[in-house]
């Protein structure tokens, strides 16, 4: 942990990083007019867990983006190449947070013997992308009209904001 806390990262960079990590469009993760603060909850959790690792991860992301412009898969591989490094563990926790709505403590991710997680909030759980990439929804929180279960769900692109899920090839 830092003895002298540095300023928390700005949201724009964190969303750009999160987009590459999750394969979800940045404008989907953080719309122009957000109606919840899940993005802030995840950033706060990451910062509280290991600010040094988060800072290093964001710096590594910036460098990788410059080295591999327009190639998010290579950026992702660069960030996750060392599966047990602090920045790789931080990246994995961020991915897990966006998908599950829970924060998995980085210290418990590897080796996975002391894994601990806490659900960030009801809305974070409900808005988790694990539901959306399954073209589904959290139990009890569907916002589709009556009878939706009798038809095809919207396309995967409608949920992710991406034509295809990018990245995900590292590790």
């Amino acid at each position: 942990m830092s003895l002298t806390p540095s300023p928390a990262p700005d949201m724009t960079g964190f969303i750009a990083l999160s987009s590459v990590l999750t394969g979800i469009a940045a404008t989907t993760l953080l719309p122009s007019f957000p109606t919840n603060d899940v993005h802030q909850q995840i950033l706060d959790a990451a910062w509280a867990d290991d600010p040094d690792a988060l800072t290093e991860l964001l710096a590594a992301f910036t460098a990788a983006t410059q080295r591999f412009p327009n190639d998010p898969a290579m950026v992702l591989r660069t960030l996750l190449v060392s599966g047990d490094s602090p920045i790789a563990l931080m990246a994995k926790s961020i991915i897990l947070a966006w998908y599950s709505g829970a924060w998995y403590a980085t210290a418990g991710l590897y080796p996975a013997k002391t894994r601990s997680a806490r659900v960030l909030s009801a809305i974070a759980y409900e808005q988790g992308y694990m539901w959306k990439v399954a073209q589904a929804h959290a139990m009890g929180s569907a916002d589709y009209p009556f009878g939706y279960w009798n038809g095809q769900p919207p396309s995967l692109q409608d949920y992710t904001g991406q034509e295809t899920i990018q990245g995900g090839q590292g590790q």
């Binding site: 122009s32 007019f33 957000p34 603060d37 009801a122 929180s141 916002d143 009878g147 038809g151 919207p154």
Partner: protein, 466 residues
Amino acid sequence: MRLWLLASVALSGFGLSMSASAQTPVPPDPYAVKVTCNANGPAADAALSPLMPCDLTFEGSNPTPVQIQQSFDTFSWQSFVALNWPADGTTVIGQGKGAGGDAPATWSGWADALAVMMTPTPPAWGASAPPPEACAALGAGPVLSMVGKTPDLLTAATQPFDTGPLIDQNGAYVRYQILINKPMYDFIIANKLNTKAGQAAYKPTFIPPNATKPMMTFPGGQQDGPVTPAKPVATAPGYEGAVMIKLAWKIMGPGDDPATFHTVTALVYTQGATPAQDTCLKQTVGLVGMHIGNKVRRFPQWVWSTFEQVHNVPQAQDVGTLKPADKFNFYRVGCDAATCPVNQPPPRPWNPAVQPFPNHYASQITRVIALAQSYKDMNAKWQAPLAGTVWADYMLIGTQWPTQQDNKSSPTGFPFPVFLANTTLETYIQGTVPQSSSSCIACHNNAVDTAGTPSDFTYILERAVH
């Protein structure tokens, strides 16, 4: 507010076309009515006008989130003024002959949703349905049904979810009324959606931008530009879409100042266990709550505005600072929580034939979500030109709208604010609990007709009985 600050990113991803007049003209909905639209934006003065807005008017090409919300709230106040404009077409709002300049409002000629859906032959537009037999000898007037007792017939006139009646300080039950405008009426009648058979046969053909298959779609308002700058309001040609209003009324009684309410003389009808036990009283009732659901073409989820009489309730956070002289329609200052449990439905039985409510009971209601300063400012702006009239005693509680109106994966379009409640209409479901607290769009998204077909955010169609 934190969300506002976080939202101060560029609005390039925002799904709205900020200038309605800049849009490529599209053919209007067949049942929309050609009108002259109020095209003032939030930067304009609060100009009183009988013209309804047909669409949202935003400031500039890249408004801030605060400006966007102000546009919706301006839309709400413009709608409120236009709908409550005197029906005679000549009198200016607030200059009628009644107390506080009151006069019959424009919507008084609208169709009663229950009459449209529950009578074998719905009344023609502009005509009234025959009153219940118990009211027949009392002359003309809107019929206000009772709450709770006969849910099969009257649930559409109660609060959402039938969570319980609201009892005023005189022990009288609050009454409710749902009215629809001509585009909505015409759509229902032309498509035979006032009958079960018509609903079963109806086949929607239009795929809204937030859906993946054809859905029932009421006519939406739109503004076709160009905007003509003028005082007091800029105008534009356009179309009025479906509008439905839900009204909450209190019986005017001791302690009520008629100069602070819009009032009407109504036939207050209470159904008994048998027709012989039905009662009907001709009474003066005062408006305490008003929902406006306005279908705007580019917002498939509708735009939802809600207003209240300013003396309804205190804010929960202000209860400790109230003075003994403070008076409210639905809160008694100084009554302890044991005697007057806050925001709780009345004890059963709920029998509107027994009034006043037994044991001197009155609802003890507070506003759970405090009114933001931006709303206080917006209300002050619009109340100023209405000063001295009954309409200055009403305030906007909020405007809920879809922030991502074309989002197919979330057809409710991420409404903002997430929660919105009127203390006279969603009294007991105020708050911020997901899936439980009041949200106009989230709730009305579940609406279906009697055939189980989603009914475009209105519960009216499920009231069909023939």
